[in-house]
């Protein structure tokens, strides 16, 4: 794809990139701490990944191979438009294969394929402050992070357990990074939380509207909050993927008709396609005749 003329490489001007790069370096040096940055107006609205895009733009180089996923899928509007954006403004090679990518921008999933040391994953973050629903004042939460005063979150988890018998958070499940900072892992399913712990890849987080960047360096402890007698547990739909038959991947529930029909499929489309290409077949996979009829 040819780079768009009239724009700087990767859209942002150099002054902005330096500012973001400085914020990223401080974020890496203080794992889990939210670093304020001068978030710029981007050519797409807040809530569409402006934070992740700015981080990607500051990091991206011509030799990178970019993958963008939205809830695990490479083919949704958000993923396609961001991938095309960097294809046009930076001329970088893009891919949908997790193993081929050097830089992965994600909205709300971590790929099923384990990431490597030579990869960087950039999360799009709507709300970087894990305490936002418990303490509305930003000045106050900043102070709480400064003092590592996270009792409020433990009380919330405790109240969940007394009321429901378990912690009722299924996504954006709060984590403690490097035994110091409470961090919002972005709205990834709690299923993905264990992948963040000691991940070989560098993890960067960008929140455009909230103007915060934070990071988890490789091989850093990321602990999902829990209690000794109520340990953190991941959940997934108790089904096998209808297309590839995987029993260990995170599943999306797809409504297939108006008579209660349901299909459970891998949320990670690349994972599912790779498995199907390797010959794995799920119970609901279309037969060769059905494919020919389409």
């Amino acid at each position: 794809m040819n780079a768009l003329s009239g724009y700087n490489f990767a859209y942002l001007d150099e002054q902005t990139k330096r500012m973001i790069r400085r914020a990223i370096l401080k974020a890496v040096a203080i794992p889990g701490h939210q670093v304020p940055f001068g978030s710029r107006e981007m050519p797409l609205p807040y809530g569409w990944g402006t934070g992740g895009i700015q981080v990607t733009a500051a990091v991206l180089g011509p030799s990178d191979v970019l993958k963008v996923i939205d809830q695990g899928a490479d083919d949704t509007t958000n993923a396609v438009s961001i991938r095309r954006f960097f294809g046009r403004t930076a001329g970088v090679r893009t891919t949908t294969a997790t193993a081929e990518a050097t830089l992965i921008q994600t909205r709300h999933r971590i790929p099923e394929t384990a990431l490597r040391e030579d990869q960087i994953i950039v999360y799009q973050v709507p709300q970087p402050e894990p305490l936002s629903k418990l303490e509305p004042s930003r000045a106050e939460t900043r102070r709480m992070h400064g003092l590592a005063e996270y009792g409020l979150m433990h009380v919330k988890l405790y109240e969940d357990i007394t009321r429901f018998g378990h912690v009722s958070i299924s996504y954006d499940y709060p984590v403690l990074v490097n035994s110091r900072y409470l961090m919002a892992p972005s709205p990834i399913p709690a299923f993905d939380n264990p992948k963040m712990h000691m991940m070989p890849a560098l993890q960067l987080f960008g929140a455009g509207r909230e103007k915060r960047i934070y990071a988890v360096p490789p091989y850093t402890a990321v602990k999902s909050l829990d209690f000794d007698d109520h340990p953190f547990r991941t959940t997934r739909a108790p089904h096998a993927c209808g297309l590839c038959g995987a029993t260990d991947s995170y599943l999306d529930e797809v409504v297939t008709d108006d008579r209660g029909g349901r299909l459970f499929v891998c949320s990670d489309t690349d994972h599912c396609e790779t498995r199907r290409a390797a010959g794995h077949v799920g119970a609901e996979a279309p037969t060769a005749d059905e494919l020919a009829a389409e």
Binding site: I30, G61, R142, P218, Y219
Partner: protein
């Protein structure tokens, strides 16, 4: 006049590749990365030191620099546009040829530890000299970085800096065309 000497041949991609080297160095403490190859900075700056300055320092970041770097002052002013400050405690970036007293640098606050200074320290080389044993975030297993040009007692000074966590100073080491970094989160034992 040092001002005649060029910066990056390609300012955009030069800064990008140097940033990736610094990012990787900061994310994996003690790992060594190439930076600044092809640069011809004024003495006494090494290409790696100059590349880090060009990549991170600009008009928004007050810079304190070692009197020993005076010959490069015009070059830094021209290419980075940085305001130099006489008070080392007010600097966002500190450029030094010898380790300054880390306690004099801005360590940030408990609420805003990211406001701390970054020390860009030019050393004689890597692979010889003081062996630093590193552990902490970014390292799967303890690593060793040998640095030629750090004073005796560096590990003790660093221990004081690390004890301030999350406050503290981050260090980028430069020699020739190689960089390494020590973020405040890393623990160092000497020997």
């Amino acid at each position: 006049m040092s001002i005649d000497l060029p910066g990056f041949a390609d300012p955009v991609l030069g800064a990008q590749s140097c940033f990736r080297a610094v990012l990787d160095a900061m994310a994996r403490p003690g790992s060594r990365h190439a930076a600044g190859a092809g640069l011809t900075p004024p003495a006494p700056l090494d290409p790696a030191t100059a590349a880090v300055l060009l990549t991170l320092v600009d008009v928004e970041t007050p810079l304190w620099f070692d009197p020993g770097c005076a010959a490069a002052q015009d070059w830094i002013a021209f290419h980075c546009g940085a305001a130099t400050v006489p008070d080392i405690g007010a600097a966002a970036f500190v450029l030094a040829l010898e380790l300054p007293d880390l306690a004099h640098l801005n360590a940030g606050s408990d609420d805003g530890p990211e406001e701390s200074a970054t020390l860009i320290l030019q050393v004689r080389g890597f692979g010889a000299g003081t062996a630093l044993h590193l552990a902490g975030p970014g390292l799967r297993a303890p690593a060793t970085l040998a640095v030629d040009g750090l004073p005796a007692g560096f590990a003790a000074a660093w221990a004081d800096n690390h004890a301030l966590f999350p406050r503290g100073v981050d260090l980028i080491l430069c020699a020739g065309t190689t960089i390494a970094a020590l973020p405040r989160s890393v623990r160092i034992a000497e020997g």
